[in-house]
């Protein structure tokens, strides 16, 4: 009986822990899975098609990189109870605050366009016209936020996050070469052809899709809107870690798909990959298209919220999903304005949509150090953070990330002006 009661006690304790985690889980998983947005899926499929399994190790390395950056926003949001935009204004003044806010607005608008590009391209595979996709997306995105509760929005968003894992069964369905996947995952290597401009561009696009400024603003504001306290921080970190693991797994799944079925083919976007999958395996093609739509949708709802929260924090509007439209009119007005503006660009005839998608990732990663530096400064302020300040290891890791991104962006800038430096 003693053993039975011990087992029962342990079982109840584990259940309670899981239930507690599920209550706190949300911002970390959503931001990380939404990170595999339409631009991200496009980047991963292009990476797999052009460079086979050779760069999976690079994607795996980006997982902890994303975790160390996003974990800081959990601590900052839980301790200060302020969103990131408000935290910058409060701590560094209005000059730096406006700079950060305008950066965010510009990048978010560009990234939102790529989300709509992904959604319309995915649905066009099923014969749905872009205009119909855009309108239906607007309606669903609007309905999600208008019910007046953050928790409801979060749970629906988590469902879409679950759908984002569709690449995993798709990758398993095609019997990929496990030995090549393991080799590409654990042995750092350059693809045949070495270090070229094209490779450099894709590496940067991969970094840009893994960590982006909107993620910092989104997660911190979501932590505040959810009402997370300092005592919840451990769960918030676990939530973020689980999210970063899922990010890497989905990214690897996308790479495996195109590396196995479309090796050596010039794929510039995920929709083209899905279209080319159809004659080979129409179920895999359909799964990739559904996943691409989901990725764009998830990215769009998170990015538009990140901007709306940021503006609301700074302008002092009511800015919570727990408010109804009448209580927070400007918050919802900005949210819908963002969606409308981005969706409309996609409907412009002959717009260079694929090029826009890839370049936006690269521009996002280039501007990321500006946001990261403020985040690190905030996390090192003893008055603000107290015992939750960055440790030496966290500072080394995050400053290392900032330096790495600046170096890589510089090298890409040089290669853009002098293309022959890296062999063109």
């Amino acid at each position: 009986m003693n053993i039975l009661s011990k087992f029962y006690y342990r079982y109840k304790k584990i259940l309670k822990t899981i239930r507690l985690y599920l209550i706190i889980a949300g911002p970390g998983i959503i931001v990380m899975v939404a990170d595999n947005d339409a631009g991200g899926i496009t980047t991963y499929t292009a990476t797999g098609a052009q460079y086979s399994f050779h760069l999976i190790w690079f994607l795996i390395l980006l997982g902890p990189v994303a975790y160390y950056v996003q974990e800081m926003t959990v601590r900052l949001g839980a301790v200060t109870k302020r969103g990131h935009a408000e935290a910058i204004f409060h701590s560094f003044g209005s000059f730096w605050g406006w700079f950060s806010l305008l950066d965010l607005v510009f990048l978010d608008w560009l990234t939102m366009i790529t989300e709509f590009i992904g959604m319309t391209a995915a649905m066009s595979i099923f014969g749905v016209p872009p205009l119909v996709t855009v309108i239906i997306s607007w309606i669903v995105m609007g309905t999600m936020v208008l019910q007046g509760r953050y928790w409801t929005w979060e749970k629906v968003a988590l469902l879409f996050c679950g759908l984002n894992l569709i690449y995993i069964p798709a990758a398993l369905m095609i019997n990929p070469p496990v030995d090549k996947i393991l080799h590409g995952s654990f042995i750092p290597q350059l693809p045949p052809g070495g270090f070229t401009n094209a490779l450099f561009f894709l590496l940067m696009a991969n970094i840009g899709t893994t960590i982006a400024p909107w993620m910092i603003f989104f997660q911190q504001s979501a932590v505040v809107d959810k009402g997370m306290q300092e005592k919840d921080m451990l769960w918030g970190k676990i939530d973020t870690a689980v999210g970063s693991l899922l990010t890497v797994v989905v990214a690897a799944g996308c790479v495996v798909l195109t590396a196995t079925l479309l090796p050596g083919q010039m794929i510039n976007d995920a929709a083209t990959a899905a279209f080319r999958f159809m004659p080979i395996n129409r179920y895999v093609g359909a799964l990739l298209a559904i996943g691409l739509f989901d990725a764009g949708f998830l990215g769009a709802i998170c990015i538009s919220l990140a901007s709306s929260w940021a503006f609301g924090e700074v302008f002092g509007w009511a800015h919570s999903l727990n408010h109804k439209v009448k209580e927070a009119p400007w918050f919802y007005a900005y949210y819908f304005f963002d969606l409308l503006l981005a969706g409309t660009v996609v409907l412009i005839p002959r717009a260079p949509l694929v090029l826009i998608t890839l370049f936006v990732q690269v521009i996002a990663v280039t501007l990321l150090p500006a946001a990261l530096v403020f985040l690190i400064l905030l996390l090192n302020n003893e008055e603000t953070m107290g015992e939750y300040r960055n440790t030496l290891f966290q500072n080394v890791a995050n400053i290392g990330i900032v330096v790495m991104i600046i170096v890589i962006s510089t090298l890409y800038g040089i290669s853009a002006i002098f293309p022959k430096i890296l062999g063109g």
Binding site: G93, I363, L367, A416
Partner: protein
């Protein structure tokens, strides 16, 4: 109506600037200069990428 909107927005911006006029984290001149230089440098890099984007378009 549009003029009223811009006037109200300008007023809101002025109020925000007043509210956050004094930063809570004191930065030395060196830190401020470094942040400004970093920002300028990153925008320069973005400019180069936009140039590359335009050349690829043509």
């Amino acid at each position: 109506m549009i003029l009223d909107f811009f006037r109200n927005t300008a007023g809101a911006v002025r109020a925000i600037n007043q509210k956050y006029a004094k930063p809570h984290i004191e930065m030395t001149g060196g830190v401020r200069f470094s942040l400004g230089a970093l920002r300028f440098y990153l925008l320069l890099l973005v400019g180069i990428m936009v140039y590359k984007f335009i050349t690829l378009l043509h």
